[in-house]
């Protein structure tokens, strides 16, 4: 793991020098976000970030936090090469937050060619990055653009899906073909995402703005199968989602159709091809596969939609190849955004309503590890652009979930959680 990281860094540094050597003008840019929040939560004691059974990042009570401090540092050259490093910090929130962490979330080298005369463009990425799945987290440092907290789908992507790999993307630009639409297809081959699926199985779907840092280990709730002598006694206390355990290459493919001025439709498939019975230092391989669908559509100048759906399975076995965790999972959301242009100038007000439905279906017979879950969530956000970089937001989230595993820690199986947040977000 560390060795791979070192090799990657060496490669990136080498590539940086190679590209530097070949060109003259390098442009350095630093962008980012600072997100100051006050949150009031009505849930259980501990949020999922602190190994609790709550579906929100923090537990019951009032919290003040610097919810994200992210920087997107890049160097780009005239020849289409660019190098990117994204650093995120999550300082400890008041009122029982997890400890402060700081680290890298993405680091990659990118090349984007110029379109050919027939309108084809090639883009490649190599390094640590997110497979292109989220339609929400496209602001700097993977911040969510229209809401403070991401949907369940993308909170999971931010937590467990990250790859060390190489992506190749071909785009056909409609502009150069007298078509109103652009088409793109991409394929990624990757390593280092073998334990993905563990956290989703053990804490279910969650809602927050937290991303797992590269090499960071994340906690999950206690359940009886972890006790000595039980099926999962060998599992480490924390899951380390970005590990390579079996040296098998995983892949992600994606296609996108984009109609200029209207929106886009996309579909993709992810398979980490992990060996489910491989275990190293308490970290198991989880064979995780899912497909995902996405849509963004502008109905009018003011009204637009974002929707995603993700569905798949994950399998983890004992060393003698008996299923220990075998789950199916699905989650989808529909978000409507309204720009209040008619009422106030400069697009200063924007409202978002997001509804979600999520589930995990446990297909194995492991005692003391019930992963079943069903739930729905509603998020209401209103954001006001105070000045060019400052956004003030108020957000309400309601999660209604049925999760039998809460019984293990004497918490209600059926739970309604509420969160009220006020935030000042500064983008630079």
């Amino acid at each position: 793991m560390i060795e791979t990281g070192i090799r990657l860094c060496q490669f990136l540094v080498l590539m940086t020098f190679v590209t530097l050597h070949n060109t003259q003008a390098a442009e350095y840019t630093v962008h980012g976000i600072a997100d100051l929040r006050v949150s009031y939560i009505d849930s259980v004691d501990k949020g999922y970030l602190n190994s609790g059974q709550g579906k929100l990042g923090l537990g019951d009570g009032l919290h003040f936090s610097l919810a994200q401090l992210g920087a997107d540092i890049s160097v780009s050259w005239e020849n289409g090469f660019s190098a990117h490093g994204i650093v995120n910090a999550y300082p400890k929130a008041s009122g029982g937050g997890e400890s402060t962490v700081l680290g890298i979330t993405e680091a990659y080298l990118k090349y984007r060619s110029l379109p050919t005369s027939s309108g084809y463009r090639l883009q490649t990425k190599i390094g640590i990055f997110y497979p292109e799945i989220s339609l929400e987290n496209n602001a700097y440092a993977w911040a969510s653009k229209d809401t403070l907290d991401s949907s369940t789908v993308n909170t999971w992507i931010g937590e467990e899906i990250r790859v060390l790999g190489s992506e190749l993307k071909v785009t056909r630009l409609g502009r150069l073909n007298n078509d109103k639409y652009d088409l793109s297809v991409s394929a990624t081959a990757f390593m280092n995402n073998d334990p993905a699926g563990a956290l989703l199985s053990w804490h279910g779907w969650t809602i927050s703005n937290r991303q797992t840092l590269w090499t960071e280990k994340r906690p999950f709730p206690w359940f009886p199968a972890r006790a000595d002598g039980q099926a999962l006694a060998g599992q480490a206390d924390k899951s380390d989602p970005f590990l390579e355990l079996d040296h098998r290459v995983g892949y992600h493919v994606r296609g996108e159709w984009k109609l200029r001025g209207k929106g886009e439709l996309s579909a993709g498939y992810y398979d980490n091809r992990a060996t489910p019975y491989k275990v190293i230092d308490g970290q198991y391989g989880w064979r995780t596969r899912f497909y995902h669908l996405g849509a963004r559509w502008r109905f009018s100048q003011n009204l637009s939609l974002t929707a995603q759906y993700l569905s798949g399975d994950t399998l983890m076995q004992s060393q003698n190849k008996v299923d220990v965790v075998n789950n199916d999972y699905a989650s989808g959301f529909v978000a409507l955004h309204y720009n209040w242009q008619a009422i106030s100038a400069n697009k200063k007000h924007k409202s978002t309503v997001r509804v979600e439905d999520f589930s995990v279906t446990d297909n194995d017979n492991t005692w003391g590890d019930n992963n079943n879950e069903q739930g729905q969530a509603l998020t209401l956000n209103h954001s006001y652009r105070l000045s060019k970089p400052w956004f003030l937001s108020a957000e309400f989230t309601l999660i209604d979930s049925h999760r039998p595993a809460r019984y293990y820690t004497a918490q209600p199986v059926d739970l309604i959680e509420k969160q009220w947040q006020l935030a000042a977000r500064y983008f630079f």
Binding site: H31, S76, P115, S117, R175, G261, N339
Partner: protein, 236 residues
Amino acid sequence: MVSHPFLLRSALIPYYVVLASFLLISLTSWTAEACSTENSNCVQVKVNNIKNIPLENMVVYLEPLAGQVLPQQNEKVTISQHSKSFIPYISVSQSTAPVSFENKDDITHHIYSADSENKFSFKIRAGKTDSKTQFNHAAEIAMGCNIHDWMSGYLLIVDTPYFAKTDAQGLASFSLKELGKYRVVVWHPQMRTENNRMFLEKDVLTNDAVIVTLKQGMDEIPAQKSDEDFDFLSDY
């Protein structure tokens, strides 16, 4: 009989002056509207759509067909990048005339032309001007930005100094150095004709007026606007 030489009667001179100046004023006001220089051969081209409604921003240019002498139009053409769009959408210039790109945005643009004969690309940083690009022959150049895919602009390079874009009344005016036979060409990237052009051959007379009516509708001009209304996207 000895014929009398023609003499101006001094008493009539004031009348002649008034008359002449009246004529001159009406003539200059006409040329000021129609042509850029006085005492020239003025020709006006009007472009109408299929429903006979005048079309604005159509490029009209005149190519000599009888070996007429052409002056060189060396006026610099400036193409701005403003609010992540090319302004103007269509620029025209004569070959070898200087072309200048001005980035009025606070971000970098990566301007390119993918056309195999006129390929070029350069990055232009916030607030900078780039005048390195020059074109030595007639060409139709579709420009884009490799960072902002919705940006789209055109530069038409012609081999004649007689080019203009139609105004709100659909009019383009030219003051020709020499009259005679010309090919009148109307061009627009969204014109539904071969090579986006219409041709008309015409023996141009003094103060001539030519009307060109399109035989088909025009394609929609693509909006140079991002689908996203958020300024802090991490896409490049």
